[in-house]
Amino acid sequence: MGMLSFLTGRTFPRGVHPPGLKEATRDQAIRRLPFAPRLVLPLAQHFGKPSRPVVKRHQEVVRGQVIAEADGFQSVPLHAPVTGVVEGIELMPTARGPKTEAILLRTLPGDSQAVRWSSPRDLSGLSREELIRAIQAAGLVGQGGAAFPTHLKYAVPEGHGVDTLVVNGCECEPYLTTDHRIMVEQAQEVLAGIRLALRAVGADQALIGVEDDKPDAIAALQAQIGPDDPIAVRKVKAKYPQGSEKMLIKALLKREVPSGGLPFQVGVVVNNAGTMAQLGRLLPLGEGLIERVITVAGPGVERPGNYRVPVGTPLRYLLEHVGFRGDDASHLILGGPMMGNTVSSLDVPVTKAVSGLVVLPQAQADAAPETIHPCIRCGRCVEACPVGLNPAELGRLAAKRRYETMQERFHLSDCFECGSCAYVCPANIPLVQYFRIAKALNRERLS
């Protein structure tokens, strides 16, 4: 690493190489699906305070209209993804498990579904604060999975100068190709978004990190960069988890975000490429975030591909339209197979930050042996952990329930559950699950 990076490509230390499995979707254009007859719109689709509903039961709404407003600065509004009728506000299942409040919206079948709630505007005169307000009003949250409100990232605390906007086009999870297709097909919008983001955050330069297995995306982006743009595309090595923001900052800038800290502390703001495309498209039109691109893939899908769907589309509807060919006990994973959650119900909707639905039939999911062996201290997990933790030692302590030692001496809270350790473990130890439990119990103990 370091001086040898011209040989190996820019990257971070350690990590793993799961097979990409992107062939089925990466070369296909993004397609649209019909509108689902009923949408489920959770009020807490983002990190922060849930949105506050501003519609009533039986109220008719048009596509693009605000149906829930931001509850303070730590929140974002929610816009109606279809023209239709509010059926009610009810507790509905979510990907994370517990039921949360959601607006149920019945789609009006005869409607043209044109966006009727936009206010195109000239953004050139806006100040930083005005831009940040406009981004919040668009309901924009990180499209990569974390769902962090974008405007909050740009409101960097006083005294911290951000010099670099890092745009994350790595997409290192197997199967997922949404960002890849967006960079290829919407490079212009990605660049427009980056220019706006540079102004909103007050950074000097933008670096777009793209893994070296996406040459077409790199070319498409480069073609859109003007001579005066302080923007550059940087090829990084295809390796998991290159798309984790801390790993990408390390690869591109050789900086390390302090343990427990945020990127702005080292002068960086990181945004997903898909978020930049939404920003570049929505802000000039004055529209809100009402749809997104999602990769639907895996052996249990008949027509894998990238689909542009309204936010709130239930997975059941999505699966019916892409052709489900899994078995009764298929695993439905929201996100990628390394970090995604299996869903508990088909009524779970596609929310703003869901980038993929991966369907693994039982046989495929259980291909790995289920027997858990004792740790043989082979050290593969230590060689894999991108954060530089010792997963074997953490696992040993977890088995002994020494959760406090895990935190105090072995930096448990720095683990972001990327799954690299469990992926390589020949003893099949469910390390990530151990760590989740340990973190949860530590949180409980402290509260």
Binding site: P18, P258, S259, R316, L319, I376, C378, V424
Partner: protein
């Protein structure tokens, strides 16, 4: 159309696909050519020795699993490895009853009492070998010349010694090892003979070339960390080289030190026991170098011609300490953590 039942699992949902059995099976596979060469060299006595130690080790593991009501672990091949390794460190004409007892001690005291696979502090094969060294000092240092004409039809006389008797060495068969010749007679073996293995020695210690090839196979398949053999051999080479430069007349060349005795087998197949070695890269370098250094010191200054076994056992003993002080540096902490 859509699934009726939904499986809930936690991430990651994909696995690389390796398993403990796969690693252990490959170690057995890598040991087989060395075993084969040994049988070719020393005949059916070496074969019987390997069978007896392996069967004893497997049976002992099974017995202790029964006694402690743990699930059977014989299928993970680790006891087979212990048995084969133990046989490879013993003289080919070692009495079988002594070999069986050593195998039992290796697994029982070296592994099962610690809690089985993954919990042993020391390499179990070396515990068995250390027991043999202490209990049967004469038999464990009686060596045989390779290539005896009747080796495939007749057992070496001492192999079939009646249990609880110690056979007297038969001069027609015995020979000194190159290390012994250097230690006690001041004679040097030819480097090339050491490399190819045309010398007397333990059943599996004689051909450096073959051990190197088999070790490289495991390294290429990423089932052995190359840093361990590299550090052991490097540590031994540097230490021996320093002594040689000080007094070339008295000390052997570093090449002789590398290729003679059990150093190659120890570096590639004994020190590399994952369970008993440190986990981090720097820890492995330190551990290996320590073993190499100790081997040379024991060989040059100890009462015995060979020191690999004790050096590795001491390295094993130091591993938990090394792991305690050398840990990876977590991202964003800016300093190496030692606690």
């Amino acid at each position: 159309m859509t699934p009726l039942q939904i499986e809930l699992k936690t991430s990651p949902h994909v696995k690389q696909g390796g398993s403990v059995q796969q690693i252990m099976r490959n170690v057995v596979l890598a040991l087989l050519p060395i075993c084969g060469f040994s049988v070719y060299h020393f005949g059916i006595s070496a074969l019987a020795l390997m069978l007896v130690t392996t069967l004893t080790c497997v049976a002992t593991e099974q017995l202790f699993n029964r006694l402690s009501r743990r699930p059977a672990t014989v299928s993970d091949y680790s006891a087979v490895i212990t048995g084969l390794l133990l046989a490879l460190t013993l003289p080919p004409a070692f009495p079988l009853w002594m070999a069986a007892l050593s195998g039992f001690i290796g697994i029982a005291l070296g592994k099962s009492l610690f809690g089985g696979l993954g919990f042993n502090l020391f390499n179990p094969a070396l515990i068995g070998r250390a027991f043999a060294q202490g209990a049967f000092p004469s038999a464990v240092s009686t060596w045989t010349l390779p290539g005896h004409p009747e080796r495939f039809t007749e057992f070496l006389p001492s192999t079939l010694a009646v249990p609880f008797t110690t056979p007297a060495p038969v001069d027609a068969y015995t020979a000194a090892t190159p290390l012994g010749m250097w230690k006690f007679q001041g004679e040097h073996a030819e480097t090339w003979d050491l490399f190819t293995g045309m010398v007397a020695g333990s059943a599996g210690e004689t051909s450096a070339l073959l051990i190197l090839v088999c070790g490289l196979y495991l390294i290429a398949r990423r089932m052995m960390n190359w840093r361990i053999p590299a550090a052991v051999l490097g540590g031994a080479f540097v230490t021996a080289g320093a002594f040689y430069l000080l007094d070339p007349g008295h000390y052997p060349t570093p090449w002789f030190v590398l290729l003679s005795g059990g150093l190659m087998l120890g570096a590639f197949f004994m020190a590399s026991d994952m369970v008993a070695s440190p986990m981090t890269r720097s820890g492995l370098w330190l551990y290996g170098a320590l073993i190499g250094f100790l081997t040379v010191i024991i060989r040059f200054f100890g009462g015995l011609p060979e020191g690999v076994m004790y050096a590795i056992l001491l390295g094993n003993a130091a591993s938990p300490l090394i792991d305690r002080f050398i840990q990876p540096r977590p991202y964003g902490t800016g300093k190496r953590r030692a606690s």
